[in-house]
């Protein structure tokens, strides 16, 4: 537990989460609002930054850190230079280092966790019209997909 707390503190420093002034610009540009109909303050980058600052280790058990797509939008607009992408990515890494989390989907070929389940559900929802064999291709991580495609065609 001690080590985990250490890492959390370092992560807060690294992503400059301490500098957050709760202006809400990251929430305004966050694509999750478009992706999930149940987008809420707990899921938003501001909510996660605040919870990571105040809640200690509780943030690691929070379901809401798995909804993020780790895009550039919030990091780009933040006036204080807080990187919500790095913060959430780091939180996920801490969880995944302990044990494989069921909130990630793992590549069928190489076993790498490459996409969070809620994001995968969103992508699959958008592609539900596609034939099953095209959707099956998406079970691999992008690197494996490129390699399979290249091997088959070279």
């Amino acid at each position: 537990m001690k080590r985990e707390d250490d890492r959390l503190t370092r992560l807060r420093k690294f992503s400059k989460a301490y500098a957050c002034v709760e202006c809400g610009r990251c929430v305004a540009v966050c694509p999750m609002a478009e992706m999930y109909p149940d987008f809420s303050i707990e899921m938003s980058p501001r909510g996660i930054i605040q919870k990571a600052l105040r809640d200690g280790g509780g943030i690691l058990a929070d379901e809401n850190i798995w909804y993020c797509t780790e895009c550039n939008a919030g990091t780009d607009v933040c006036p204080q230079g807080v990187s919500c992408r790095d913060l959430i990515g780091g939180l996920r890494k801490i969880v995944l280092e302990g044990h494989p989390a069921e909130q990630m989907s793992y590549c069928r070929d190489c076993g790498k966790p490459f996409l969070a389940r809620p994001v995968e559900r969103f992508v699959m929802g958008r592609l539900e019209q596609e034939p099953p064999n095209v959707r099956a291709l998406l079970e691999r991580c992008p690197a494996c997909r490129r390699l399979t495609y290249a091997r088959r065609n070279a």
Partner: protein
């Protein structure tokens, strides 16, 4: 604008469902927000009449793996396009090198006709312009990487320095990678300038319809002009069965059509058959709404009907099928004698109504004339081959879409496997060859091995 431009994609694929709903409930009220739709190019290209024969292509990058040396010039010139990001890391093409087998592969965006990245993008930054180029709009892109997750080839690449996503935009019509490739492995093509097979086939079909229906009335079934005589092979078969005598001249005349079938496949069905012409015309107008039951949509049905026709003729003593044959009925319909055959002629619209299920459903599942030709075509000299290595797979299964008898397996092509085309079912209309912009569909002799892109050197 939502609700105004017709969207060719199925309803579930429309990404602007939410906005369409609001626009429908109150189209007049001005939105307080900036309407993003006004800012972007039209997604649906306008159709021109000339597109049917002279398709407009934005062009397509083609890659020949046998020529690629893996030098990486394409990565370099592509990365140098943006002066602020000069480095191969910001390129939108990447080369996989295999030193062991010498097999290299350049991966780049194929500009799908129905891009999956466009569907998945949560900020709607990806658009497909009228020219067919799929672009990322830098204003809207937040680099979430979902386009890479949705793309079957994972072609949008992430620049690991800036975390931006880069994707080929064909350099707006003049790709640098193709211009600078030293070995000519990457090349840029605008596809065929003119679809001549299409024009030729419709002309031949219309002419043979005129000839068989209006000029040589009733003569497809049996035609005699001096020493030249032709007849329908299925008709002759029924004739033999009903009269129980073998007429050698009849067999000889039926052989003409069978010979054509051996040489060129079921060319009769695709190019000459007057009823097939009617079906093609009806199929253009009728929407495909109903999916037929499985027992009906069985390609073996037509052989059963052929056996039934011959057996029926044997039992009844006259040509059982010929009385209701849609081809024969159509041929006999014109003129004074045809006028009295109103009841018989009803078979033509009745069978043409089958087009609501699938294109050419009569020819696919039922036609006994086609069944006999199919049996002969299995001995045919030619075959149609489609090389999956030469084609664009996910992004373009136009051959499977245009095939009127539905024998090209689009799902196999999507996976990168060359489909085998059964020449017994193929009606030799050559639509696939005409439509393929990459020269992957070809006519080959029966004994030739390999498919385009995979031939032995």
């Amino acid at each position: 604008m939502p609700g105004e431009t017709p969207d060719p994609r199925p309803a579930g694929l429309k990404r602007r469902n939410m906005e369409t709903k609001t626009a429908k409930t109150d189209p007049q009220s001005p939105s307080p927000f900036l309407n993003l739709e006004d800012l972007r190019p039209r997604l649906v290209p306008r159709k021109r009449f000339t597109d049917r024969f002279m398709p407009r292509h934005s062009g397509q990058l083609l890659f020949d793996p046998s020529r690629c040396t893996g030098c990486g010039t394409c990565e370099m010139v592509c990365g140098n396009r943006n002066v602020s990001l000069v480095a191969p890391a910001s390129a939108s093409v990447t080369v996989f090198r295999d030193e062991g087998q010498g097999k290299n592969f350049a991966l780049y965006c194929q500009h799908c006709r129905r891009p999956l990245c466009l569907e998945a993008c949560p900020t709607r930054a990806i658009t497909r312009g009228e020219d067919g180029i799929v672009r990322i709009d830098r204003v809207f892109c937040v680099a979430c990487g979902l386009c890479t997750m949705a793309c079957p080839e994972a072609a949008p690449l992430r620049d690991h320095r800036t975390k931006e996503i880069h994707k080929c935009d064909l350099c707006e019509g003049d790709p640098l990678c193709a211009r600078h490739c030293p070995e000519g492995a990457l090349s840029f093509t605008r596809g065929k300038a003119f679809r001549w097979i299409k024009g030729l086939r419709w002309t031949v079909q219309a002419l043979s319809f005129l000839l068989l229906v209006f000029i040589l009335i009733g003569t497809f079934c049996s035609f005699q002009a001096g020493v030249v005589s032709l007849s329908c092979p299925t008709g002759i078969l029924q004739n033999i069965a009903s009269t129980k005598t073998i007429v050698l001249t009849g067999i000889a005349t039926a052989l003409a059509l069978l010979l054509l079938t051996v040489i060129a496949g079921r060319l009769f069905c695709g190019w000459i058959c007057p009823f097939g012409f009617v079906l093609d015309l009806v199929g253009k107008a009728v929407p495909k709404k109903i999916s037929p039951p499985r027992w009906l949509a069985n390609r073996l049905n037509k052989y059963g009907l052929l056996a039934g026709a011959v057996g029926g003729s044997f039992a009844l003593g006259y040509q059982a099928f010929c009385t209701v044959c849609p081809i024969g009925t159509l041929c006999r319909s014109y003129g004074v004698q045809g006028f009295f055959r109103g009841a018989e002629l009803a078979i033509v619209p009745a069978l043409a109504a089958l087009e609501v299920t699938e294109r050419r459903s009569w020819c696919r599942y039922f036609c006994p004339v086609g069944a006999l030709l199919a049996l002969v075509a299995s001995l045919g000299l030619i075959k149609i081959v489609i090389g999956a290595k030469k084609c664009k797979k996910f992004s373009c299964v136009q051959c499977a879409e245009v095939c009127p008898v539905g024998i090209i397996d689009g799902n196999l092509l999507r996976e990168g496997v060359s489909p085998k085309i059964p020449m017994t079912e193929c009606i030799s209309c050559f639509r696939c060859i005409d439509r393929c912009p990459y020269g992957a569909a070809k006519i080959r002799f029966r004994w030739q091995k390999g498919v385009p892109g995979e031939e032995a050197p």
